[in-house]
């Protein structure tokens, strides 16, 4: 509903006020006059009327509506009132997502705006998730909305020529929201779980609005398969539990089965393979293994090789090396990691040093392994990960 009001009024703040007033009016009128036949359309019509009244009353608001004549707002709103299918609501939400994830806005603004305007989280909740004060977050939102208005960022589904690129941008924002929650950065698991749940909700919404899109399905599958392991990956003392050591009975089967189904569908669509679908397929192979010994490592190595072609990055190379160690042993994996480290881009990446430490330990080279774990500890910032590394180091004594 907010999405439709934003389209009709062309202004985020005006739309939010109009929605508030429409709800207030509904609370006053529905108990006595009954709920209207199409409550959604009624709320939008009422919200639009309230906004138009406000524009007429208050000349300051006139400048906010920038060229949108009251008459045209009224004409558009009539269309909504007649539309009982509800399709325009979906289209408007999609427009809103594309606007919030517009490439002309900063990455920080994307995430903040999406959680605030699309998911409807309060400014306070968004601020808490990103460890900034409510005031800072409010300012960030105000700046982003001002840029949308001043720069003329359209409230529209992008042109076909740039649509796919823009969808990729939206997926990156949604995945960014998810990893923010998954990386345990907020310090409280409850907040992190909520953020992951919002990201999954966004994924479902996109899957509904852009059906049969391989990237959307792949991303949703990836998030579900990772989130299914949430309860198993942190111990009751708040320590990280690695995949190998997780109690697999704690994995959420319903999320896994939905994820597995989505991966299969995403990979069966002809055309370009989405990197998200490949990552989800890797997660799916882990999820399918009831015991860690059943993990199909050769296929995981193969999928990482596909991913390296689609989207090469040091992180993917590192994960590939870890998978190789499970198939060909630690010596070959260590070679891969050392060649990655020699290129120098990731010398401060703690997980690279942690993996080196593990391979060296397996190769019975304890002195070098200890050195590698120390390097990992020097670069790790998150408390649970630091505790894990310290436990590894203590194992040498």
């Amino acid at each position: 509903m907010l999405a439709t009001l934003i389209r009709l009024l062309g202004d985020f703040d005006l739309a939010e006020e109009a929605r508030q007033e429409a709800f207030t009016a509904a609370l006053e009128q529905w108990p006595t006059r009954g709920v209207p036949q199409n409550p959604g359309a009624w709320l939008i019509r009422t919200g639009r009327n309230k906004a138009v009244d406000r524009i007429r009353r208050d000349a300051v608001f006139r400048t906010k509506v920038q060229g949108r004549e009251i008459a045209s707002i009224e004409a558009d709103a009539e269309g909504v009132a007649e539309d009982t299918e509800g399709d325009t609501f979906g289209d408007d939400r999609l427009r809103l997502i594309f606007t919030c994830c517009h490439p002309a806005l900063s990455r920080e603004a994307h995430v903040a705006l999406t959680l605030r305007e699309v998911c409807g989280l309060t400014t306070q909740a968004v601020a808490r998730a990103f460890l900034v004060s409510e005031e800072t977050m409010a300012q960030r939102l105000v700046r982003a909305k001002r840029k949308i208005r001043d720069a003329g960022i359209p409230y529209e589904t992008p042109e076909p020529a740039v649509l796919d690129q823009r969808i990729q941008g939206v997926l990156a924002v949604v995945y960014g929201v998810f990893t923010e929650g998954y990386a345990l950065t907020s310090g409280t698991q409850l907040v992190d779980a909520e953020i992951c749940a919002e990201a999954i909700r966004l994924g479902r919404l996109l899957d509904e609005l852009l059906p049969m899109h391989p990237g959307v399905m792949g991303l949703l599958a990836l998030m579900l398969l990772h989130d299914a392991r949430r309860r198993a990956r942190v111990s009751h003392t708040g320590d990280v539990v690695l995949l190998d050591d997780q109690n697999r009975t704690l994995w959420e089967r319903d999320k896994i089965s939905e994820g597995l189904m989505l991966v299969d569908r995403a990979l069966s669509i002809p055309g370009q393979i989405s990197p998200y679908a490949v990552q989800a397929a890797i997660a799916a192979l882990h999820a399918r293994a009831q015991r860690k010994e059943e993990t199909d490592w050769p296929q995981i190595v193969g999928l990482y090789e596909v991913l390296l072609r689609l989207q090469p990055s040091p992180v993917v190379e590192l994960n590939h090396a870890v998978a190789v160690s499970m198939v060909d042993g630690p010596a070959r994996a260590l070679n891969l990691i050392d060649s990655l480290a020699a290129r120098g881009q990731v010398s401060e990446y703690h997980l690279l040093h942690a993996a080196r430490g593990q391979f060296l330990q397996q190769l019975a080279r304890p002195e070098e392994a200890r050195e590698a774990y120390r390097a990992a500890l020097a670069f790790a910032t998150l408390e649970p990960e630091r505790r894990l590394l310290m436990a590894r180091l203590a194992g040498f004594d």
Binding site: D150, A151, G152, E156
Partner: protein, 117 residues
């Protein structure tokens, strides 16, 4: 809305271009300009002489002071501009992406304040 597309490039690199390269750049610009004129998006556009011909003027305490060249030493310099009419930022970005200089320099897209009413 109207947008100013500010074309930034390293003018030393432009100055060092061969006559052939310069010729094909000019041809690309003419082609691009013709395109936006035909599409009704063109309002104005010019190539600027190099910053070595620039003078910076300031008034402080009622005194006019002039200095040689632009204010800051930057890697890329303003070398030209287009003023275009575009439906929204997406259209302006699409036009900016077709400016030949976007391939070697950068284009800053700035919305113009609408006339005060």
């Amino acid at each position: 809305m109207q947008y100013l597309l500010l074309i930034y490039a390293n003018e030393k690199e432009i100055a060092a271009m061969s006559p052939t390269a310069l010729g094909s750049m000019t041809a690309e610009y003419m082609e691009f300009t013709k395109g936006i004129v035909q599409a009704g998006q063109f309002k104005a556009g010019d190539r600027l002489k190099s910053t070595s011909a620039a003078t910076t003027v300031r008034v402080r305490n009622g005194q006019v002071t002039t200095t040689d060249g632009p204010f800051a030493e930057t890697r890329e310099q303003l070398g030209g501009y287009y003023l275009v009419d575009a439906k929204n930022l997406d259209e302006a970005i699409a036009i900016a992406g077709r400016v030949p200089g976007a391939k070697w320099g950068s284009i800053e897209v700035r919305p113009i304040w609408p006339p005060q009413t």
